[in-house]
């Protein structure tokens, strides 16, 4: 195995169709901006890129939206290099990074571009619209009517029952996240919000409120990765990829993927995310207590409370106390989402796994400005995606 490093990263600020940030830009334009920035940051030219690993949301029968890596390559100039389009729902960016990492680690290519970007359809993410009674997603919508955020709300409600978590504590996560976003020039929202403002926002799926759930956004992120040997030509201080992992949901997961499943024997929450992160600890030899900061997939604030406990970053039932003591802020003992997280960016689905790599890189280089984790040495990233997908990555300097 070759050691893999991050050479350069780039991002297009996140926004909403028609606003002053992204306007009417296509996903290819957003990606081009992020890719140009990443290549400049890396000091490499397009002709040096040997392969592209792109996060694609064109899955489930072709929804007519989403990134196609071939369009990005055409825009940059067709050099004939291989393009891998990876689909894994919202975990696609993490999957694309993993495939790029694996290609370099395995010695297939020395320098790979990883890119993810999205121009999201308006409103709630809808199903394919195909009325097929063999499609569990169709049955769930037709027979039950379970909007996307209901999954998160079900888990959050259960946590309230198990740990006594309050709605105020969940709102406090958003307050912390939005405070971080003030010093992130790439975040869609860059304004702090008060606890009262969060609690005054309407329920989207009780107990979760509008300000506690990430909206959909347009945005793009890119990273240039290469072998450590090759990196010497470009920089003396590359960021090392300690590991990158992918996992899928376990049979005994607490939440049925479709309509039903067996009652699990004991707690079995978020089995895909936990498996990806545990595998990352195992492969890298870096344990949960060695992690200096974490970028995790906060589609909803609930995850910031549940995940750190499940991965051993803190003790079970301790997350609320750490939050209230300010320990999850960039200067605390267990910094979570110093970038401001999905709650501040909104979700441009396939960009997210790559967005996290960019934030980890900036943090580890000490370039994160007002949201800098002091002395950041090791960072953990994690994504989750529809269909039972998850990824993790650990970066270090």
């Amino acid at each position: 195995m070759q050691e893999v490093v991050v050479l350069g990263v780039g991002m297009h600020r996140f926004g909403k169709t028609g606003d002053a940030i992204v306007g009417g830009k296509s996903v290819t334009e957003l990606c081009r901006h992020a890719v140009d920035m990443a290549m400049k940051d890396a000091g490499v030219s397009w002709r040096q890129v040997q392969a592209v690993s792109a996060a694609s949301s064109r899955f489930s029968g072709g929804k007519g939206w989403g990134l196609n890596g071939n369009d990005v390559v055409e825009d940059l100039g067709c050099t004939g290099i291989p393009v891998y389009n990876l689909s894994a729902g919202c975990a696609a960016g993490g999957n694309a990074f993993n495939v790029g990492y694996s290609l370099v680690a395995g010695g297939i290519h020395d320098l790979v571009l990883v890119v993810g970007g999205e121009v999201m359809p308006k409103g709630m993410i809808q199903t394919s619209g195909v009325e097929d009674i063999n499609d569990p997603e169709y049955l769930r919508q037709r027979c039950v009517g379970m909007p996307g955020p209901a999954f998160w709300a079900t888990l959050a409600r259960r946590r309230m029952f198990d740990h006594g978590t309050t709605e105020e504590q969940m709102a406090q996560v958003t307050v912390k996240a939005r405070k971080c976003s003030e010093s992130n020039p790439f975040a869609r929202f860059q304004k702090a919000v008060s606890l009262d403002e969060v609690l005054a926002s309407p329920y989207v799926s009780n107990p979760l409120r509008l300000f506690e759930i990430c909206p959909v956004s347009n945005g793009a992120a890119a990273s240039v990765i290469c072998s450590k040997d090759m990196a010497r030509r470009f920089t003396s201080k590359p960021i090392t990829v300690a590991t990158s992992t992918v996992a899928t949901i376990g049979f005994d997961d607490a939440l049925p993927r479709s309509l039903a499943g067996p009652v699990p024997n004991g707690p079995s929450f978020h089995t895909e995310a936990k498996a990806a992160v545990m595998k990352a600890f195992e492969r890298s030899g870096i344990g949960p207590r060695d992690i200096g900061f974490t970028e995790l997939q906060d589609n909803t604030c609930y995850y910031e409370l549940a995940f750190p406990e499940e991965w051993g970053l803190c003790e079970p039932g301790e997350a609320e106390r750490l939050l209230e003591a300010g320990e999850t802020t960039p200067t605390g003992r267990m910094p979570i989402n110093p970038s401001g997280g999905f709650v501040s960016f909104g979700e441009a689905t396939t960009a997210m796994g790559v967005f996290q790599i960019a934030e980890l890189t900036w943090q580890l280089r000490g370039q994160a400005g007002g949201r800098q984790v002091p002395g950041a040495k090791v960072g953990l990233a994690q994504t989750n995606g529809l269909g039972g997908n998850a990824t993790a990555a650990i970066l270090k300097r």
Partner: protein
């Protein structure tokens, strides 16, 4: 007669009740979900599957069975806004709770709750029922739901 009463009449007239999706559930012999169970590892399935999906199962042996009766509310969420199609609902939209219920027979199943959101509590005893989810073309389209037992 008000519109609401007309709907109630439709809902109770069995000739005018129709499952929103055929073959998944029935109510002739009481409310029942039509599923399956692997008799090797006793894993329950709903809807039916062709093969056992338990990776620890030595040999798949699927037989059809039904699930009904009572269970416990493991957790719940709320549809505070109307879900997008293909969901269908009676207008005006009234928010409803969505339960994740552990049936005593070992099946964890998702379903709409009949009772109002404010009456929900995790751990409550519930029973399976078949109830209308929307009305259209003079018919009441039904689905499985759960009803609180102690209310």
């Amino acid at each position: 007669m008000t519109e609401r009463n007309a709907m109630t009449d439709l809902s109770t007239n069995t000739a005018l009740r129709e499952p929103c999706v055929p073959g998944l559930f029935s109510e002739d012999e009481g409310p029942l979900l039509h599923g399956a169970r692997c008799i090797t590892c006793s894993t329950p399935y709903f809807p039916r599957v062709a093969h056992c999906r338990n990776p620890a199962c030595a040999a798949s042996h699927i037989v059809s069975c039904t699930f009904g009766g009572e269970g416990r509310l493991w957790s719940y969420s709320v549809a505070d806004f109307a879900p997008p199609p293909p969901h269908r609902y009676d207008k005006p939209f009234v928010p409803y709770a969505i339960g994740v219920v552990d049936l005593d027979s070992g099946l964890r199943v998702v379903g709409q709750m009949v009772d109002p959101v404010e009456s929900m509590r995790v751990g409550a005893r519930v029973s399976l029922v078949i109830e209308p989810i929307h009305h259209d073309e003079g018919k009441a389209f039904t689905s499985w739901k759960f009803k609180l037992l102690d209310r």
